[in-house]
């Protein structure tokens, strides 16, 4: 589904990603871990098409297409979803209204007719149950005055509604208490299928107790320095990141 080869990206002259290689197949869940500043969020942003980052090397293909040539909205329309680390407030626009615009633009791009109000509401209702989100939250201005937990839940709700092929969760666990964490993870798990994939970007192993990954990768200094199964996450939890750093720094580049 997603194939990243030697991806390099910089922001304002600072090289952040220094050659990422990663393959994500349909149905897989990959966790990307790593210490602060290793480039995890940059990777998520570059995949979503954030323009502040300059891609200066490598290739990314999504379902056989060159992803890097597509605008952010077209990437979204092809089925890439980013759950933001810091969801953005849009005053005066309700989640429902926002999602209606989103769903219909995605449908239009894919040659489908707009979803009528009845089907849309039915669709919304179903997904509300899935992520245990309250109607009142959906009619409020998007993310405005939401608590940290509400924002993250709302991201997962949007993901559920838009049904992406590839979901990238950027530190969705940060700032969540254990209950919210469980709800968010449940939401993700219910959406897992053999056709769609998830990339979970996280600093802590905690979330991976709930969303069990097929693969775990450790990002450090803009490169994936180690890959393994979920056991790698446990090892990191136990030992921290220092041993990875030492190992990496002692190896001649």
């Amino acid at each position: 589904m997603l194939n990243i080869q030697d991806l390099k990206a910089s922001i304002e002259g600072n090289q952040i990603l220094k050659g990422i290689n990663l393959e994500v197949k349909a149905g897989e869940v990959h966790a990307i871990m790593g210490p602060n500043g290793s480039g995890k969020s940059t990777l998520a942003s570059v995949l979503a098409g954030r323009e502040e980052f300059e891609v200066n090397g490598g290739e990314v293909s999504f379902e056989g297409e060159n992803l890097l040539e597509l605008s952010p909205e077209d990437r979204a329309r092809k089925g890439i979803f980013l759950a933001f680390q810091y969801p953005v407030e849009i005053p005066g626009v309700s989640t429902t209204n926002f999602l209606k615009s989103a769903i219909n633009q995605i449908r239009e791009y894919n040659g489908k007719k707009p979803m009528d109000a009845v089907h849309f509401l039915k669709h919304i209702k179903e997904k509300m149950k899935l992520v245990e989100i309250d109607q009142s939250l959906l009619s409020r201005s998007l993310n405005e005055g939401f608590s940290g937990g509400e924002k993250k839940k709302n991201e997962i709700f949007q993901m559920a509604v838009l049904e992406p092929k590839l979901a990238i969760l950027d530190e969705t666990d940060s700032g969540l208490d254990i209950d919210a964490l469980r709800i968010v993870a449940n939401g993700v798990n219910k959406l897992r299928s053999k056709d769609n994939s998830v990339i979970v970007v996280t600093h802590y192993q905690r979330l991976l107790n709930y969303i069990v990954p097929d693969y775990v990768h450790v990002l450090y200094e803009g490169r994936i320095v180690r890959s393994g199964t979920k056991d790698l996450a446990f090892e990191l939890e136990e030992k921290g990141y220092d041993w990875i750093k030492e190992e990496f720094n002692s190896t001649p580049a």
């Binding site: 979503a48 098409g49 909205e73 979204a76 005066g92 626009v93 615009s101 989103a102 633009q105």
Partner: protein, 481 residues
């Protein structure tokens, strides 16, 4: 890196879609202004002597006055002798019914999206359309007259209800109130008159459509709305003009009188031609709008969506004379390219327990300048007056300006006055967030702007709210990056 300004410029490419010129013969006065022109207009309309005298008095006042310079708009000196003060689409005899109206004229209105025929049949909106200087047709007249409601062109009202017109004309905006109202009083050509009798709720929206068509023509219309005791009316005004390189002057006066327990809702969707992307042409919109809540518990509510005009100078105001009366002002003013807007309101609290509410949402894009100017004045005997003002500005790009000039004068210690103001920018973060959900930038801007203006748009009658939403999107098409 995305070049934000480039995208911004690209996005400001929206075209004015009402810019067609209708081709029919016009019956015009020669250019220039003097007492003879005033007499010419008055005789063209077959006016009674008292009105001619009133006009002449206004004209003499105007000659002694100076054009106001205190607002923060700038424009080249207007040569008042270079303007045509009267232009009527030529018509052989006064129309008896819609069927007799020049088909070309009807077509013009259809292009504007207000087919009078359709309006008449399908919608519940009664329309009075003013082209250049004269009122062309008033729909739904019969149905309204059954309720005793008078809704007609101003000239017709002068003929048929002279006592009412005489009683209220100039009662809210005196002829010498300001430079432009004096000019209007001298040369006003037509407009709408509306009277809602005691205890009657007008069952439909009343609407006037103004259009300037002929070149070098000023439009000086006059609207007078009188709501008698316990009456209610919702009134909407829409405006468009063709694209012309020269600037055209529009100096209207609107007066509203609300008696005891009466309520008047006045909504405007102003879309005069704003000039081209380089700032050439466009309408100078210098308008005096004022309402008086004359009786106790009366209410006047102004809602305006201002997207057009090269220069706007406009302060719909309320004089809260009756005890417990309420004045409201809801405004969205959008400026793009080289447009300038200096707009706001005046709330004058005279009566006890009077309340006013001001919600102003400015949106500036391109190289435009957008100012809010407002006065809240609480007079000595206005016990327990309350005001809440909220003035927000939204900026797009870094070449535009937003300014806020709130004036507060309270002469009574019991007054409660609240003022909130914010300035924000459409953030790249917001746009990227929308993009990431599959929403393109153009639609994202529309979504964000409509969200920002929601509180005001929700005050408009439903069908006009939808039109206003679209208009906002068109005006700002491509103005953000």
């Amino acid at each position: 890196m995305a070049d934000k300004d480039n995208i911004l410029e690209e996005l400001t490419q929206s075209e004015y879609k009402y810019g067609f010129i209708s081709d029919f013969e016009a019956d015009s006065a020669p250019k220039g202004l003097n007492e003879d022109i005033v007499r010419f207009i008055s005789s063209k309309k077959g006016e009674p002597d008292w009105l001619l005298e009133w006009r002449l008095k206004a004209f003499r006042n105007w000659q002694k006055m100076k054009e106001p310079k205190w607002s923060s708009v700038s424009y080249p000196e207007i040569n008042y002798q270079d303007i045509i003060y009267y232009s009527a689409p030529k018509q052989k005899v006064a129309p008896e019914s819609l069927d007799e109206i020049d088909p070309e004229l009807i077509e013009t209105f259809e292009k504007l999206g207000i087919s009078l025929q359709e309006q008449k049949r399908l919608t519940g909106v009664a329309v009075d359309a003013v082209m250049d200087s004269v009122s062309v047709a008033t729909t739904f007249k019969d149905k309204l007259s059954e309720l005793g409601i008078i809704f007609s062109s101003f000239s017709e009202a002068v003929k048929e209800h002279p006592d009412l017109v005489r009683k209220y004309l100039g009662s809210v905006v005196p002829m010498n109130d300001n430079y432009f109202s004096a000019l209007n009083s001298a040369v006003f050509s037509d407009g709408s008159f509306c009277y809602i009798p005691k205890g009657v709720r007008c069952p439909m929206e009343l609407s006037t459509y103004f259009r300037i068509n002929a070149a070098n023509t000023g439009q000086f219309e006059r609207t007078l709305i009188v709501a008698d005791e316990g009456a209610y009316v919702s009134y909407l005004e829409g405006c468009t003009a063709p694209m012309r390189d020269e600037n055209q002057l529009h100096a209207a006066v609107v007066e509203i009188h609300a008696a005891k327990d009466a309520e008047v809702k006045y909504s405007t969707v102003q879309n005069w031609y704003p000039g081209n992307k380089e700032g050439k042409g466009g309408i100078y919109n210098f308008v005096t709008k004022r309402g008086i809540c004359a009786g106790s518990r009366s209410k006047i509510s102004w809602t305006q969506v201002e997207t057009g005009s090269a220069v706007t100078w406009k302060y719909p105001s309320c004089i809260l004379k009756g005890d417990d009366s309420i004045g409201e002002f809801y405004s969205v003013a959008v400026t793009n390219n080289y447009q300038q807007a200096d707009t706001g309101t005046k709330m004058i609290h005279l009566g006890k327990n009077t309340k006013s509410r001001i919600v102003s949402k400015g949106i500036s894009a391109g190289k435009s300048q957008n100012s809010y100017r407002g006065l809240v004045k609480v007079m000595k005997r206005a016990e327990n007056a309350r005001n809440y003002s909220q003035c927000d500005s939204l900026l797009m790009g870094d070449q535009c300006g937003a300014h806020t000039f709130p004036y507060i004068e309270a002469s009574n210690n019991s007054a409660h006055i609240e003022h909130e103001a914010t300035t924000s920018k459409i953030g790249e973060d917001q746009l990227f967030y929308c993009n990431q959900r599959g929403i393109d930038t153009e639609q994202a801007v529309a979504l964000i702007v409509n969200g920002y203006a929601k509180e005001v748009l929700s005050k408009l009658p439903m069908e006009f709210a939808i039109e206003a939403q679209k208009l906002l999107a068109i005006t700002l098409e491509g103005s953000v990056g």
